[in-house]
């Protein structure tokens, strides 16, 4: 009787517990998006500079975070930070760090792409009225490229949120982890509990991510 399974969600403290787990998930994503976004803008600007060494290093950083799957990144930091740097962070903070660095890497590429697509004429006429480099970025290039980078940023944010589902793997008590506990604790009474709990988590993720993808589409059209 599948329909009875949904009662599991509303029984006792189950729903508040799930939402509590969701908050942990969201908090990791939120910090990563804000901190990584700011760092990403900074690195993206640096990547438009002529200095070859700087560009090479930042490119390397980006490619590392692109090539290594996020699961592996999480384990790399989770195992290696305590061992080789003697840095014992709680799992949620390790995850926040990984997501922040990942966000910054991907955001830097978006920012760079948008900055270099501002027409050269705009750079010329900024220089022609005597702006220095930081004024040129601040008043001309960054405002003009914001519009270009927003859709991609929205998609990136949605990707970060989706990827927080991996927190489970390094034992952060996130929404999925809580869900597992609920399923296991009620295995006898609700044998189809997994269907409903994972179904609800599926819907929760969808509800959070869908607005960002709508926004991205809308921004792309404008």
């Amino acid at each position: 009787m599948a329909h009875s399974g949904i009662n599991l969600i509303f029984e006792g403290q189950n729903l508040p517990r799930l939402l509590g787990g969701l908050w942990i998930t969201i908090r990791v994503a939120l910090i990563a998006i804000i901190a990584g976004g700011v760092l990403g803008i900074f690195l993206g600007v640096l990547r438009t500079f002529k200095n070859r060494f700087l560009r090479f290093i930042l490119r390397l950083y980006l490619e590392f975070f692109r090539i290594v799957p996020t699961v592996v990144l999480l384990f790399l930091f989770y195992y290696i930070l305590p061992k080789s740097m003697n840095l014992n962070l709680p799992a949620a903070e390790v995850a926040t760090l990984v997501f922040t660095l990942w966000m910054a890497a991907e955001a830097s590429d978006i920012v760079r792409g948008a900055l270099i697509s501002v027409p050269q004429h705009q750079v010329d006429s900024g220089l022609a009225i005597g702006l220095n480099r930081s004024q040129l970025y601040y008043y001309v290039l960054i405002p003009q490229s914001l519009k270009l980078m927003l859709p991609a940023m929205m998609n990136l944010i949605s990707r970060i949120i989706k990827t927080t589902s991996l927190l489970l793997l390094i034992s952060v008590l996130d929404v999925i982890n809580v869900g597992q506990q609920i399923i296991e604790a009620n295995q006898k009474q609700y044998p189809q509990g997994a269907f409903w709990v994972y179904g609800v988590i599926f819907v929760l993720y969808f509800l959070i991510c869908y607005p960002f993808s709508l926004l991205a589409k809308k921004l792309q059209k404008d």
Binding site: P119, I129, P143
Partner: protein, 244 residues
């Protein structure tokens, strides 16, 4: 007449391809130099070199008798004294008209906002666009944008102005308004270097014509003579091809 700008033996190449070869000329204060020549002759590159938007391989530029040290920092300082207007206007689409004009005076020259805005209004009035301060570039016609671009350059009170084919992408009916503004500037003894294809206008304002072909200055002839009596065959052919 005092010398404002002197260029000596300027050479520029894109990789192996030479674009400007052994360019030398002088511009005096209050003088209008018109640069003419077929497309691809290096006219635009030349005036872009004059405010450091293009690096050059050798040669020297003297500005007000001082040798220009072509470092980015130095050019940035000099550009306040050199106004430049481009073919594609290039107003900043993210700023309204007032902010477009006052960005340089406020941020570069550290003028107070009130002073800069007052001056912007005065200049806008001279080009008939005083009511447009709150509008954004996308709301303006090409001719209006180009007039604003001229005002934006003038707002820094430059010692001379560079015009790079400023009417080339305008509809014919817009051209006149822009040319009138430039003619007025010439009348007020603004020193100008003008690259243009408008032959009648060139003849009207040129104190001197530099005729460029294939990266060389073939002629430097007073304006009153160039159009009626060019010295070289290339210049004659050019004038004929321009239907002049």
């Amino acid at each position: 007449m005092t010398e404002l700008l002197r260029v000596e033996h300027l050479n520029k190449a894109y990789g192996e391809v030479p674009v400007l070869q052994d360019i030398s000329f002088t511009v005096n204060t209050g003088e209008v130099q018109v640069v003419l020549g077929p497309s691809g002759s290096g006219k635009s590159t030349l005036i872009r070199c004059l405010n450091g938007l293009e690096p050059y391989q050798s040669g020297t530029i003297y500005f007000q008798g001082q040798k220009v040290d072509p470092t980015p920092k130095n050019w940035q300082l000099l550009r306040q004294k050199i106004g430049m207007v481009f073919q594609s206007y290039d107003l900043f689409p993210n700023l309204n008209i007032m902010d477009n004009i006052t960005l340089g005076p406020i941020k570069v020259q550290k003028q107070s906002k009130a002073t800069a805005q007052k001056e912007a209004l005065r200049l806008l009035d001279t080009v008939g666009l005083a009511d447009y301060t709150a509008k954004f570039p996308r709301e303006l016609s090409g001719g209006q944008k180009q007039r604003i671009a001229i005002v934006r350059a003038l707002a820094l009170h430059p010692d001379f102005m560079l015009f790079d084919e400023v009417t080339a992408s305008l509809d014919p009916e817009m051209v006149r308004g822009v040319l009138e503004i430039m003619a007025n500037l010439a009348k007020q003894k603004m020193t100008m270097i003008v690259v243009t294809h408008e032959m009648n206008f060139a003849q009207q304002i040129a104190d001197n014509v530099l005729f460029l072909d294939d990266g060389h200055i073939l002629e430097s002839t007073p304006g009153k003579d160039f159009f009626t009596n060019p010295q070289t065959d290339r210049a004659k052919e050019f004038l004929q091809s321009m239907d002049f």
